[in-house]
């Protein structure tokens, strides 16, 4: 117990980094995902082609590789990121691609009649999107988004590769120093707590959206 309280501060500080990556990636890549998803269903071919290539790159290569590329590769062509910014940049690019695919599916599930119905009521495209399309899409995609959210918490551990001190790294350091598995058990417990909180929040959200069908 003494040992646990000794290493806990460093683990908690690592959790801070993990949560900050998690939080900002989610806040930025969900709206971006909606925008890119909308871009995918337009009839403007150059745009859909560009997005297709982007999504293919992001989903077709490991996130770990993308992190390495952003932090160690981009400086070669003169683009230098701080460690944290590099991590956030790579995560946002990567997760936006996944969210975009999910939102595209959701958007395509909305019947054309809903748009036409809004049109004859003279709602603008933006009003239609905001009041009618997006709420329905959110309900459809919520389970898939939930999956990605849980993945994101765990994926954030990949930032160790560019030397950021996240939760897993804090545990790793303590384990190597003290030659014991206890830090890793604690790390697992903290990850489980984080994903449990997410699961509860997602369940609540799904329940909220179950008021209508």
């Amino acid at each position: 117990m003494n040992y646990v309280s000794q290493i806990l501060p460093s683990l908690i500080s690592g959790t801070g980094t993990t949560l900050s990556i998690f939080f900002w990636t989610l806040i930025i890549s969900v709206p971006l995902g909606i925008l890119v998803g909308l871009g995918m269903i337009t009839n403007f071919k150059p745009l859909t082609w560009l997005i297709d290539v982007y999504v293919w790159l992001m989903r077709g290569t490991p996130l770990l590789l993308q992190l390495i590329f952003v932090f160690y590769g981009l400086p070669i062509i003169g683009i230098v990121f701080q460690r944290y910014d590099a991590a956030l940049f790579a995560f946002i690019l990567n997760y936006t691609a996944y969210f975009a695919e999910i939102f595209r599916g959701g958007l395509q599930a909305i019947p054309v009649g809903q748009y036409e119905s809004a049109r004859v009521l003279r709602l603008t495209n933006w009003q239609t999107l905001r009041k009618i399309v997006i709420p329905q899409v959110v309900k459809i995609v919520l389970p898939s988004i939930g999956n990605e959210v849980i993945n994101l918490i765990k994926d954030s551990s990949l930032v160790y590769v560019i030397g950021l001190g996240d939760l897993l790294r804090a545990g790793n350091v303590a384990m190597a120093r003290d030659v014991t598995l206890v830090p890793m058990v604690l790390v697992a417990v903290i990850y489980l707590l984080l994903t449990a909180v997410c699961t509860v929040v997602l369940k609540r959200l799904e329940k909220h959206y179950s008021a209508w069908r």
């Binding site: 009649g113 119905s117 004859v120 009521l121 329905q136």
Partner: protein, 211 residues
């Protein structure tokens, strides 16, 4: 009064509407009848601005207008779709008040008062806070009618109003349409149901399938 002159519409080169002329006088009911695939719904979609026509002119009270671009003036056309297309994420009241508040800039109180009055008129009192999935087909249709009426259209169009309903509800739709006529609403009804068309029509337009 709505007039259509020489309306022509092609889909991928196939002629669907070939020089359609029609006139609907204020307060009257025009039914558009004909076999499936004859272009009844296409004609209705042209009138309500959901399809561009290839040629021809529209006149409202003698003034030319374009249903597709006529988006910033008064509401000309209300449409009741075959499958109603209520917004499932909004309650009955929200379905009805959404456009009046967002487009006509009515206050929430004003829009809700109008909505409640119209709902009551179409026997929907007590349904305001339900979601569309909680309604029967006939109720959904009446909500769709109320939603269209709340925008104070000059004309109300129906696409196959009897086809998604039980046969015994036909009489009910008929009564609603005639009741609205008595209040002065001009209506256009697309249907393949001849007896229904005959019992409500002041005027009938037959659309034939082109070979």
């Amino acid at each position: 009064m709505l007039e259509l002159k020489n309306i022509t519409k092609r889909f991928a080169g196939k002629l669907i509407l070939d020089g359609v002329n029609l006139t609907v006088n204020d307060g009257q009911i025009l039914t558009i009848v004909g076999p499936s695939g004859a272009g009844k719904t296409t004609l209705l979609r042209c009138i309500s601005g959901l399809e561009e026509t290839d040629s021809g002119d529209f006149f409202l009270d003698g003034q030319p207008f374009n249903p597709v671009t006529n988006r910033n003036n008064d509401t000309v056309m209300g449409v009741v779709f075959q499958d109603f297309q209520l917004f499932p994420n909004l309650t009955v009241l929200q379905n009805v008040t959404l456009a009046p508040t967002m487009v006509l800039k009515q206050s929430k109180a004003e829009a809700e008062a109008t909505a409640q009055r119209l709902l009551k008129q179409l026997n929907l009192d007590g349904k305001a806070d339900l979601y569309p999935y909680e309604l029967s087909g006939g109720q959904k249709q009446r909500v769709a009618i109320v939603r269209a009426l709340a925008m104070r259209p000059k004309l109300l169009c129906y696409d196959e109003p009897t086809s998604a309903l039980d046969p015994d509800l036909r009489k009910e739709v008929e009564e609603i349409i005639l009741k609205l006529k008595a209040e002065g609403m001009t209506q256009i009804v697309v249907t393949h149901d001849m007896p229904f068309a005959e019992s409500i029509a002041d005027q009938m337009l037959r659309v034939e399938a082109k070979s």
